[in-house]
Amino acid sequence: MAAASAWAIELRKINKRFGPVHANRDIDLKVKRGTIHGIVGENGAGKSTLMSILYGFYTADSGEILVNGALAHITDSRHALRLGIGMVHQHFMLVDNFSILENVILGAEESALLASSLNKARKELKRLADEYGFHVDPEAIVEDVSVGQQQRVEILKALYRGADILILDEPTGVLTPEEADDLFRVLHVLRDQGKTVILITHKLREIMAITDTVSVMRQGQMVATMPTAETSPEKLAEAMVGRRVLLRVEKGPAHPGKPLLEVKDLVVADDLKVNRVKGVSFTVRAGEIVGIAGVAGNGQSELLESIAGMRNQQSGDVIVNGSTLTLKGDDGAARARAAGLAHVPEDRQREGLVVQFEEWENSILGYQDDAAYAKGGLLDIAAARKEALQRMQKFDVRPANPRLKTASFSGGNQQKIVLAREMEHNPAVLVVGQPTRGVDIGAIEFIHNQIIKMRDAGKAILLISVELDEIRSLSDRILVMFDGHIVGEADPATATEGELGLMMAGVPPAEVIGRRVSADMTPNGGNP
């Protein structure tokens, strides 16, 4: 069958059940050699299970796998590697205090003495670097290099072991936009050299930008496969969720009122006493959403934490609804809340929730001393549970059971739990960090609408996100942060992504306008 060999991977009627969960149901998939094939789907759609079957972590209950046209029974990951299938996991599997070279040969050493393996690997790495045009310092220690570099090491590991087919699981989740662009360039080169790339993601922008073909999974089934050129983000979103989804946020014009959040000459240091916010001033008025754009690590996180009372300022003032916050001690967050500020933290699992708690317990976190939950000196558990249930219903948290452990809710539902708690206390000011990180498309729409509703109810909203799209679609004004300073302000209606990108790189707005940048900053835009 000569025709069959055009397919690097062919899956036929793959089924996999976990008890009552039918994780993969009659999956058919064909991946053409030398292409980038995207697989999208919401969390729990079965993407990772399918890839785990392909990589030998699980065996399918039924169905056939063909690799390069030949039937294969993949029993473990070594077997998958022998067939030329390599996987780059979402969470890197690297030894942090080893050099890049040592990491690459780990598990593939050829003799008891390392020197010969290392020398061979060094040559091979150089060859790979020349061939695919990505450069890493083989002697650098992994923990010293950037996350983007670490990911390259993972790719190199797979290539070093002779992978022809690369599976990448949510590769950009941990990357900055620049690093993601770099990764896409690398993937393009790999494809042009004849490698096959399977990209698992839930970010439609990435799918549109770099894949040749895209397959959509929903509830364990493969619902569509089509050439990327013939589809659109809207169509993909609809296929993923099973209903029409508004990707663009619909909102009316803002009607800003009096200032509710004022930040004056704020200087904030990180845990290592290095100043990360270096004199920032701005105002957020009632009824407007101010977005702070910037590449991760330019002080936004520290700014957000300081405004919310979680990090003490070196100097400067934060004024919420007319009262100046006293930011000292380690309970500043309580004073910020008392002043009328609600906070949805960037990292909900590390800060915003106690995931070991039952849901209702998290529903009062930060408000545990409210009179509503007090019964004499004791905690009014019944009242807290009742209120938690009402909020879960209002915010469509599923399953709506306040007695469930918080860890057992999906990311999107966890985020709704945090949002419900913070929004339902009717704050004057809402500061939101990464509102939709790791959240499904259906929930994103809901969360965005809730934030707009808060704005329209006359609240002041400060939004921080690394998703530039989100900042642009939600904000009424955009402040761009670079190296601890606010570089300038932009109007989301007129500023192009390219202009914002330049400002995010530290170019002042006057100069940006002067340059009249027209180039789009989408990943393809960089390629000739």
Binding site: D331, V354, V355, G366, L378
Partner: protein, 376 residues
Amino acid sequence: MSARRPLPRWADVALLPLLNLGLAMIVSGFVVAAIGQSPLQAIQVMIKGAFGDGVGIGFTLYYATDFIFTGLAVAVAAHAGLFNIGGDGQAYVAGIGALAAGMLLGNTHWLLVLPVATLFAAAVGAAWVFIPAYLQAKRGSHVVITTIMFNFIGSALMIYLLNGPLKGKGTQGAESAAVTGAGLMPHLQAFVPAFGYAPVNVSLFVALLALVACYVLVWHTRFGYAMRAMGHNAAATRYAGISNSKMIITILLISGGFAGITAVNEVLGSQTRLVTDITGQAGFIGIAVALMGRNHPVGILLAAVLFGALTQGGTELQFDMPAVSVQMILVIQALVIMFTGAMEGLLRPGLENVFMIFGPRQRETAVSRETATTES
């Protein structure tokens, strides 16, 4: 990769500790057999010694009183993610508080002495943990290290005091003058004659009250809520506006207070005076009690009675089977502590697998958990 397969609650709370205890008994049996004694006879003697008659039960409950307090001390701190390993020192130094109450109020009534002595002992126990608590809260000095250091400092302090300022007139050893009259806690023999000469006394009721208080504190107060939140995730309490440093200090003071009350049982209930090493290592056994009791008051009660029985049964064993030496009894107690406390996890994976195979419901939850994590 290894997903936790949750045990049903009854297996987690009852079956697993019993299996661990059984294992400890079997290994102890081998030890006893190795010195040429009959393990069956030994266990018979121990059980009979601990539960066979009123006096035995009385002694068991007397020891259990100590272990409830020291177990609670460990458990309260553990809920907040803190490990107070210095319960022994806190209980020892708290002897001063109990003694003071007994001496000062010796002419009143035990109904007055009991609450005052409890408060005094708790206050001194709390005071003894204040410096480690402050250092942990403000300087991050690990409380495990500092509290164990304070055990040694406390011991040295007490030896000095009992040979100097607190030494009773006309006493031979390092001990205080005797508390007399109403300063002493009535033994329960007054109500239940069968307890005989066993020193179990009214401070047992304080211990039972303390168990209830701990339950209410941890699960039904806002403070307990904040405490558990901090124990799971200190970043989240910072986010919630709860002062972690104040929490650490307050919780350790409560913990030290619980440990301190142990001294009432010893000084006013049993010894009638303050002597050296008054705790008899109860502070350390408290760690095993809390571990085995899963930091829950009901579990702590059961574990405290078990360790009380082991202590009492071990003493009987020395009388009835002289070939089993004191050291051998320590070995047996250590084995029980090791299996039920430190090696609690030994049987857990196996038991989880058994339930996985035979319990379809467990299998389902395990699978859905595993899928949930891999699909994220």
